[in-house]
């Protein structure tokens, strides 16, 4: 059932991708900012480049927009080589981090800029600019200078200015980071609705994992200039490939241990696992651990007894820090259940302990 709700882009495999990043590397002086990145973006997809500052996500965006040249590799769009074209010949438009609206032009002229420089006929320009103004609900501000607008309004104008050109691909460089929390939530849902409505492919850059989860069809997680994992938000949360992915997206318990004779051992926790003997790392989400009041466990579950060290009330849920003996601490998220104290039995399902690479 749930697979219906998940927007799994099945078209990725069948249709040729809209954008192909092939083995792209970028080096600034001696610093390697991007290392051998390969990434495909399907037409109509909302893909997010997620990473900490310095992970290379903005550099990758700038390579696609044409503001930087790759040191190695190629970028292709719709069967055409992109990275050899100057920025003004690419059918790609960008929404800049601080919007970069032209201060000497009013809202209408800002939006019309792209169509004017490309020599679109006058009557067509005015119609399309009107449509774009209505789309972002800024028609009443058409003659205002950008300096008179609030952050959210500037954001909308920047979006309209890019979308009016009907790009094949829209690049968004942390467009919501300058807005306050409430406005950001509102703009997130507007952005998502807009993307569904017009069907343009979005490549979105952010360092905010919640934002990435809320908006994206797929997330490409970057770390130190390399791709850590590319998957749908649900997939990347439920099955993180690496310890970094598990920790960066949501909270997790990283269990370091080993597999020997088909038994996984992490501190006091032990469970059967049919794999070759090796040191191993597991990610166990706090909400996959439950209280076990009757002390009985199913066959596919691991039970342990732990002392509650700390309890943080979070409205709908409670975050516990528990000691399962020998100083091994685990975070547990329970539905709000009132104050807990002392020792309790906990269980988690073996399938929820996800093997990750370091």
């Amino acid at each position: 059932m749930s697979s219906v709700a998940i927007p799994q882009p099945a078209s990725v495999d069948t249709n040729p991708p809209l954008l192909e990043v092939r083995g792209v590397a970028k080096r600034f002086a001696s610093r390697e900012v991007l290392k051998n990145i390969s990434l495909n973006i399907a037409s109509g997809e909302f893909l997010t480049l997620l990473g900490e500052s310095g992970s290379g996500k903005t550099t990758l965006l700038r390579l696609i927009a044409g503001f930087e040249q790759p040191t190695a590799g190629e970028i292709w769009m719709s069967g055409e080589r992109l990275d050899t074209l100057p920025p003004y010949k690419r059918r790609v438009n960008t929404v800049f981090q601080n919007y970069a609206l032209f201060p000497h032009l009013n809202v209408r002229d800002n939006i019309a800029y792209g169509l004017r420089v490309q020599g679109a006929p006058k009557n067509e320009i005015s119609g399309r600019v009107d449509d774009a103004l209505n789309m972002v609900k800024m028609a009443e501000f058409a003659t205002a200078r950008p300096s008179r607008l609030s952050g959210g309004q500037q954001q909308r104008v920047a979006l309209a200015r890019a979308l009016v050109n009907r790009p094949q691909l829209l690049l968004l460089d942390e467009p919501l980071s300058a807005l306050d929390a409430n406005l950001r939530k509102q703009m997130q849902s507007e952005l998502k609705a807009l993307q569904r409505e017009i069907g343009i492919t979005f490549l979105f850059v952010t360092h905010d994992q919640e934002e990435a989860m809320a908006l994206s069809d797929r997330i490409a997680l970057l770390k130190d200039g390399a791709l850590e994992q590319v998957a749908s938000p649900r997939e990347i949360y439920a099955h993180p490939a690496t310890a970094y992915a598990a920790q960066f997206i949501g909270q997790t318990n990283l269990l370091r241990g080993e597999i020997r004779r088909s038994i996984a051992t992490c501190g006091v926790l032990r469970w059967p696992l049919e794999e070759a003997d090796t040191p191993a790392l597991f990610s166990l989400r706090p909400e996959t651990i439950r209280l076990c009041p009757d002390g009985k466990r199913q066959t596919n579950e691991v039970k342990f007894r732990a002392t509650i060290r700390q309890q943080i009330y979070g409205g709908a849920s409670e975050l516990l820090e528990v000691d399962c003996g020998a100083g091994q601490l685990l975070r547990v998220r329970l539905p709000a259940s009132g104050p807990l104290a002392d020792e309790h039995d906990f269980v988690f399902s073996i399938a929820d302990a996800i093997r990750v690479t370091n």
Partner: protein, 299 residues
Amino acid sequence: MISSSLSPMPSASQTDFAMYSRAYKTIVSTPPLLWVALFLLLPYALMFAHSFWAVQDGVIVHHWSLSNYQKLLTNSLYADVLFRTMRIAASVMLCSLLLGYPLAYCLSFHSGQRKELLYQLVIVPLWVSYLVRGYAWKTILGSEGVLNGFLQYAHITHEPVSFLLYSPFAVVLMLTHIYTPFVFLPIYASLEHIPRPLVEASQDLGASPASTFFRVILPLSMPGLLAGATFAFVLSLGDFLAPLLVGGSSGTMIANIVQTLFGATYDWPLGAAISVCILLITLSLLFLTERLEKRWSFK
């Protein structure tokens, strides 16, 4: 409770503070105001008064009349020199814009790592005395000068070219050399203030580099361009050393006339009348550029 018990306190300290700050403001602003009154307003007033007086038998008599201004309007010599001066000033403005703007543009947008060094190189001539640079041009342009020497050595000419020195051309050349850094500086400052994402946004929206220049960079650097143009024009308008050094009789400018009237001829009233005219031209120009600069600022 708390607020009512505390309320008299700040008001007392506020009056203290207000008195203190008023005294402070008076002490700080008096010397500059005195300076302005003594060395700017008083001389202007004197000049203005002189322009309505006259000279009789070598003495200035305080008879108020418009005769000096009448003389300026009827004697075509003054109008001719004034127009020549404005022509020269306009040429200097144009030439130093044509040199200064591309220089500032290249430095600001396309010089990369060498920006600081190149900037210093542009500024260095400002440290050299005006007179030294004037005499340097004499040495270069004179009939025994470097340029003529080269032209004859290269067999381009057989005898010294005489129009190089002591001509309006020489004046324009020397003033352009002197005022180009003054034009460069405000333009460079305004170019440096253009956020680079705006240039990227323009290209992103499909504008070629040339189109980006005319639609984004040029309009946004307009305040600097206007300031630079005003510098060059106004400073050239009042210059008298360049025409004195390299101008000859055909390159005489209005300031030379004023200098002669005040010095050799001892006709201070007529000199003052000309000065008032120049001042009015300058002021109306400054007024105009300020209006234009406001029109082109988008803060």
